[in-house]
C-alpha cells in the first residue's frame, strides 16, 4: 500500500518501525539487519568486481537467458530491461501466473476500476471477492474501509462490507462492532458464484435454490444492495483467486461491472503491487509495449504470454541461464540446473548453490527506490533510510550491460 505514515528509528544495525506500519513493513525494515554484504561465487566469498565479472561471463556465454523474479523498483527494472536488450533475454515476474488473470482480462475486454482514495471516501458497499486483502495488505481495512472521515459518507457505519468467499476476517467488522456479511463458499466455487450473481443481475433463472451452498435468495438480496448503493466496489486480489478459472472470474466481474454501470455506479479494485510487480510491468509496458513474458532475444520485442512464462521456460529447458532478482523480498531462486545469478535484497539468506550471488540494496530501505502502490495509480520516491553501501539493481544491471558492450539506457 506504500503506507507513508510510518515513524522509523535507526536501531543498532537495522531500522525499527516505531509508529504506524504493519507486520510486512516491520519485517522488511528489520530484515535490513540480516543483509550480508559479501557476494558469493559458487558459495565462496568474492569482491563485487569478481562477482560482476563472473556474472558477465555467464551472460556472455548464454544464448537464451531468462530474467525472472523481477522483484525490484522502477529504476531496477529500467536497468534490467536495458540489460535484457543487450543480453537477449526473456523477462517474467514471479507474480505473473496470478497477474495474467487480470492482464488477459484487460487485453480481451477491459474493465472499470477505481483507486484507494475513491474506496476510502466514496464506496458505500464494498464486496470482497475471494479475498480478505489482509494477507498482503494488513492495513487495508484500517486505512481504506474504516477511516473516521470518509468524504462522501455522513457516517462510516453506513458503509456495508460483504465477504464473498471462504474467509471473513476480524478487520472487516466496523468500528462500532457490526460484523461484515459473509456469504461463504469454497474458493474453487467462486467462479460459479460470481457467474450466478451476474446471471441473476441480468434476470436469468437458474436451476436449483443455491449455488455452491449460497442460496439464490442471498445472491438476489446482494443484488438489491448493489442496486441501492451509490458506489459499489468489488475488491479482488488475483493471487487469491482459484487456479482453475481465475481469469474467468475476473472476466465475469468485468462484465458485471460494465452492465451495472449502464445505470448505476460501481467499480472494481484489483489489488496488486506486491514484490514490485506493478513497478516492473509499468516499465516493461512503456519501454517495450508489453507486460511480462516478453522476449528481447530477437531484434524486436516478442510477447508470448503462453510460451514465455518463467515456469514453462525452465520446465521445458528453453532457457540456458537464470538471472533472478529479489531486491524487495527474500524470495529464493527456483531450483534449476541452469547457471544462476541472483540479485538479492535485504533479508535474503546467502545462497551458496547458485553460480553468482550478489547482494543489492532494497529500494526504500538501503537504496533509493520508485515504487507503485497496490492500485497502480500513485508511485512514490522512497529515498534510502540507511546506507549499507550496496549497489542498487540498476547499477548492477548497468555494470553488466557495460561489460557486454551494452545498450545506451
Amino acid at each position: 500500500m506504500l503506507c507513508d505514515d510510518l515513524t522509523l528509528a535507526p536501531g543498532k544495525s537495522s531500522i525499527e518501525v516505531v509508529q504506524g506500519g504493519c507486520s510486512r513493513g516491520a519485517q522488511a525494515f528489520a530484515a535490513s539487519a540480516t543483509t550480508k554484504n559479501t557476494p558469493l561465487i559458487q558459495g565462496r566469498s568474492a569482491t563485487f568486481e569478481q562477482a560482476m565479472a563472473h556474472a558477465a561471463g555467464l551472460l556472455k556465454n548464454s544464448r537464451r537467458p531468462l530474467f525472472a523474479g523481477l522483484a525490484t523498483d522502477v529504476q531496477g527494472m529500467r536497468g534490467l530491461a536495458a540489460l535484457a536488450e543487450t543480453a537477449g533475454a526473456v523477462m517474467d515476474h514471479r507474480n505473473s501466473p496470478a497477474k495474467f488473470r487480470n492482464i488477459f482480462t484487460v487485453q480481451s475486454q477491459g474493465w472499470i476500476t477505481t483507486t484507494f482514495a475513491e474506496v476510502r471516501n466514496r464506496a458505500d458497499l464494498i464486496i470482497m471477492v475471494g479475498t480478505t486483502a489482509v494477507k498482503n495488505f494488513p492495513r487495508f481495512f484500517e486505512r481504506l474501509v474504516w477511516p473516521a472521515t470518509p468524504m462522501f459518507l455522513e457516517d462510516i457505519e453506513t458503509r456495508r462490507v460483504v465477504m464473498l468467499g471462504p474467509e471473513s476476517c476480524a478487520q472487516a467488522t466496523s468500528p462500532a462492532g457490526r460484523a461484515a456479511q459473509h456469504l461463504p463458499c469454497a474458493i474453487e466455487d467462486l467462479p460459479d458464484v460470481v457467474a450466478a450473481l451476474r446471471a441473476r443481475f441480468n434476470g436469468a433463472s437458474l436451476d436449483g435454490d443455491a449455488v455452491a451452498g449460497i442460496p439464490l435468495s442471498a445472491l438476489d438480496a446482494l443484488i438489491e444492495q448493489i442496486r441501492a448503493a451509490r458506489y459499489c466496489v468489488f475488491v479482488w486480489a488475483a493471487p487469491d483467486l482459484p487456479a482453475q478459472h481465475g481469469e474467468l472470474t475476473v472476466q465475469m466481474l468485468s462484465g458485471l461491472l460494465t452492465e451495472l454501470n449502464q445505470t448505476l455506479r460501481a467499480a472494481g479494485l484489483p489489488l496488486g503491487g506486491n514484490d514490485g510487480d506493478f513497478s516492473a510491468d509499468a516499465v516493461l509496458l512503456w519501454q517495450t509495449g508489453f507486460p511480462f513474458r516478453v522476449s528481447l532475444a530477437e531484434d524486436r520485442p516478442v510477447y508470448d504470454p503462453y510460451l514465455q512464462s518463467a515456469e514453462g521456460l525452465l520446465a521445458r529447458g528453453e532457457a540456458d541461464l537464470l538471472l533472478w532478482t529479489a531486491a524487495l523480498a527474500p524470495h529464493p531462486a527456483p531450483a534449476t540446473s541452469l547457471p544462476t545469478i541472483v540479485l538479492a535484497g535485504a533479508g535474503a539468506a546467502p545462497d551458496d548453490k547458485v553460480d553468482v550471488w550478489i547482494p543489492v540494496a532494497t529500494p526504500g530501505v538501503d537504496g533509493d527506490g520508485h515504487l507503485f502502490r497496490g492500485d497502480k495509480i500513485i508511485s512514490l520516491y522512497l529515498p534510502a533510510v540507511m546506507d549499507s553501501g550496496l549497489p542498487g539493481v540498476r547499477a548492477v544491471a548497468q555494470g553488466l550491460a557495460a561489460a557486454l558492450g551494452g545498450a545506451p539506457c
Binding site: 476500476t113 477505481t114 482514495a117 475513491e118 466514496r122 451509490r230 458506489y231 467499480a267 497502480k376 495509480i377
Partner: protein
C-alpha cells in the same frame, strides 16, 4: 565548438525569414551571430537548396502517464503490427497507436520534433507521467497538470473562496507536479460521473457540489493562470466531447472565461452540429469564425486520420459512453483518487463511415478557415485522432489542394457532400507550417529561446530536402540538431540524448501547503509532500535530463 550551416533557406517566422538564404552559426548548443572573421569553424555543412527550420514542438501529445500505459497494456495486437527492431533504432520497441516511449522519442526526432508536451497529467499520477516522459529519448518534454474535477477545487468553488486562494492552489499544483501548464477536462464532469451524472452542460450544476458549473470552473482556472502570469492559457478539453450539437457548448465555452485567454484543445471533436438526415453536421465555419473574432482564444485541431488508433482521455464520463463504439471492443474506465479519472477506448476511423469521414473533413475545414496561424496548432491529439507519425500526411493535406481533393473524393460521399472542404482553396505555405509547428507553440508556452533560430535560441535545428511531396519532405528531414548536437542524419538516429523537462513555477502563499496537509490527513491516502516531485528528483526520473524553468509574468505571456 562552432558549427556553420551554410547556404540554406531559412524559414523562421519569429525573424520573418521566409526562405531567405542565410548562414547559421551554432556555438556550444546555442544559435549565435556570425563570428569574428578568422575564427575557427569546427564543422561546416553545405546546405544549399535545403529548407531550415527550428525544431518542431508538439504542444498536445499523450506520450506519458497512467492512461497511456493502460492503452499499451490493452493493445498487444496493435503493437504487433509495428514491432521496431533494435537495428532500426538504438533500442527496440513498438509503434502504431500506443508506441513504446523509446520508439516515440526516436520517431519524433526522426520527424524533426525536439519538444513534446503531455497534456493530461493527473497530479496524483504526475510521477508516473514524468517517469514515462523520462524514458522518452531525444526530445524535451513537459506536461499540463489536470484540475477541474478534483475535490479540493470543487470545494473551494462551493465555498466561494477568494480567487487568491484558488490561485494559490493552482500554483501549488503546478509546482508540486512539475508542470508547464494547466488542463481542464470536461470541467467538473469527471467528478460528476462518479456521482452517476451522465452529462454536464456548461451551466448545469454538479449534483454534489451544488452551484458548481463547468462555466465557473473554466472561469476560475483561466483567471488563475492569467493572474499567476503562466504563459500558456488554460488548456480546455470542453464539455460534451463528440456529442452532436456540441458546437454551441464550445462557442459558449469561449465566452466562459470572460476574456481571460484560453486554449481549446482538439477542437475538431467539439465542432459538431445537428443538421442533415443523420443529425450530424460540421460546425467548423462557426468555430473558425469565433476563433477569428476572439483574440483571447487559441485552439489545436485534433485532426482524425483514417486508421486504427486508441483514444486515451481523462474524460471518463464521455469515454464510458463511447466504449460501445470502440474497435476492437474493449475499454478501460477508471475513477481516480477523488482527483480525476480516465478512459481508454480503441478506435478505428474509417473513411467510408459517415461520421468518421465528416470528422476528418471538419478538422481540415477548421485548419483552413482559421485566419491566424499563430492561434491554431497542428495536432492529432495523439493518439486520439491519429498517431503523431501521421503529421507529415496531415501537413500535405494542408499544403496541397489537389492531394486534399483526391482524398476528399475517396471518403463517404454523403459526408463529402455535407462538407465545404472541396470549395476551400487555401493551401498552407511552409512559412505557415513553421508557425503552426514551431513559432506559435513556443510562444504560447512562453519558451522564449525555442521555436526560432535567432541568436540566443537553443540550437534545435532541422534541415529538410526540398520536395514537392510535402509528406515525404516532412517524414524524413536530412539533419536534426538538438542543442547543436547532430542527432539524426538521413532519417537515422545517430546519437541518443535525453531531453530536459520544461516547467513553470509560479509563486504562491505557502499557507496553502498547510491547508493541503490538513486536507490530505483528513481525506486522502497519501501525504502531499510525498506526492510532490522535488527538483532533486527530476534527473532520476528523466535519465539525467535537466529542468528548464520558464518565467511567469503577468501579461508577459502568450497572446
Amino acid at each position: 565548438m562552432l558549427i556553420k550551416l551554410t547556404g540554406g533557406r531559412i524559414i523562421d517566422p519569429v525573424q520573418k525569414l521566409n526562405g531567405e538564404v542565410q548562414d547559421l552559426y551554432i556555438r556550444d548548443g546555442v544559435m549565435v551571430a556570425a563570428p569574428e572573421p578568422g575564427e575557427r569553424i569546427h564543422e561546416e555543412y553545405n546546405l544549399q537548396g535545403r529548407i531550415i527550420m527550428a525544431g518542431a514542438i508538439d504542444l498536445h501529445t499523450h506520450i506519458g502517464g497512467g492512461k497511456v500505459n493502460i492503452a499499451r497494456m490493452m493493445l498487444p495486437e496493435d503493437h504487433r503490427r509495428d514491432l521496431v527492431s533494435r537495428h532500426e533504432h538504438p533500442r527496440s520497441g513498438c509503434g502504431c497507436a500506443a508506441p513504446s516511449t523509446l520508439t516515440a522519442g526516436y520517431r519524433y526526432a526522426e520527424m524533426g520534433y525536439t519538444a513534446c508536451f503531455e497534456p493530461a497529467m493527473l497530479p496524483m499520477n504526475a510521477r508516473q507521467a514524468h517517469l514515462e516522459m523520462g524514458d522518452t529519448p531525444m526530445v524535451d518534454k513537459g506536461a499540463y497538470a489536470m484540475l477541474g474535477s478534483d475535490d479540493f477545487l470543487l470545494r473551494q468553488l462551493v465555498a466561494n473562496e477568494d480567487q487568491r486562494a484558488i490561485n494559490d492552489y493552482v500554483a501549488y499544483t503546478l509546482n508540486a507536479s512539475q508542470a508547464m501548464g494547466l488542463k481542464v477536462v470536461n470541467p467538473g464532469g469527471i467528478s460528476a460521473f462518479k456521482f452517476n451524472q451522465r452529462s454536464l452542460n456548461l451551466d448545469e450544476s454538479h449534483s454534489h457540489y451544488q452551484g458548481v458549473t463547468p462555466r465557473r470552473i473554466v472561469f476560475a482556472l483561466a483567471r488563475a493562470l492569467d493572474e499567476l502570469g503562466v504563459p500558456h492559457p488554460l488548456h480546455i478539453h470542453a464539455s460534451n466531447l463528440g456529442v452532436p450539437g456540441n458546437v454551441d457548448t464550445t462557442l459558449n465555452t469561449m465566452l466562459a472565461s470572460e476574456g481571460f485567454p484560453i486554449h481549446l484543445t482538439h477542437i475538431q471533436f467539439h465542432s459538431y452540429g445537428t443538421e442533415g438526415d443523420r443529425k450530424f453536421s460540421s460546425g467548423a465555419a462557426r468555430i473558425a469564425e469565433a476563433i477569428n473574432s476572439n483574440p483571447h482564444v487559441s485552439a489545436d485541431v485534433g485532426q482524425i486520420l483514417f486508421n486504427q488508433t486508441v483514444t486515451a482521455s481523462g474524460d471518463s464520463m464521455i469515454q464510458f459512453k463511447n466504449a460501445r463504439h470502440g474497435s476492437p471492443k474493449k475499454s478501460v474506465v477508471m475513477d481516480i483518487e477523488c482527483d480525476a479519472g480516465c478512459g481508454v477506448v480503441p478506435f478505428r476511423y474509417r473513411d467510408q463511415n459517415f461520421v468518421n469521414a465528416l470528422q476528418w473533413a471538419i478538422g481540415l475545414e477548421i485548419f483552413l478557415l482559421v485566419d491566424d496561424p499563430w492561434r491554431i496548432f497542428l495536432t492529432t491529439d495523439h493518439p486520439n485522432g491519429a498517431p503523431f507519425t501521421s503529421y507529415p500526411h496531415l501537413i500535405r493535406l494542408l499544403m496541397d489542394k489537389s492531394f486534399r481533393d483526391e482524398k476528399l473524393a475517396g471518403i463517404d460521399p454523403t459526408a463529402a457532400a455535407m462538407s465545404t472542404l472541396g470549395s476551400i482553396n487555401r493551401e498552407y505555405s511552409l512559412y505557415e507550417i513553421a508557425i503552426l509547428t514551431r513559432a506559435a507553440p513556443a510562444r504560447t508556452l512562453g519558451m522564449k529561446n525555442m521555436g526560432h533560430l535567432s541568436p540566443g535560441a537553443v540550437a534545435d535545428v532541422v534541415v529538410y530536402r526540398e520536395d514537392a511531396d510535402r509528406e515525404a519532405m516532412f517524414t524524413a528531414p536530412e539533419l536534426v540538431f538538438r542543442r547543436g548536437q547532430r542527432v539524426v542524419k538521413n532519417g537515422r538516429i545517430e546519437q541518443v540524448v535525453w531531453g530536459d523537462v520544461h516547467v513553470v513555477k509560479p509563486d504562491y502563499d505557502r499557507g496553502i501547503e498547510r491547508r493541503l496537509q490538513e486536507y490530505h490527513q483528513r481525506y486522502q491516502t497519501i501525504n502531499p509532500n510525498h506526492v510532490r516531485i522535488h527538483d532533486e528528483e527530476i534527473p532520476i526520473l528523466t535519465n539525467g535530463g535537466g529542468l528548464q524553468i520558464h518565467r511567469c509574468s503577468r501579461h508577459g505571456g502568450a497572446l
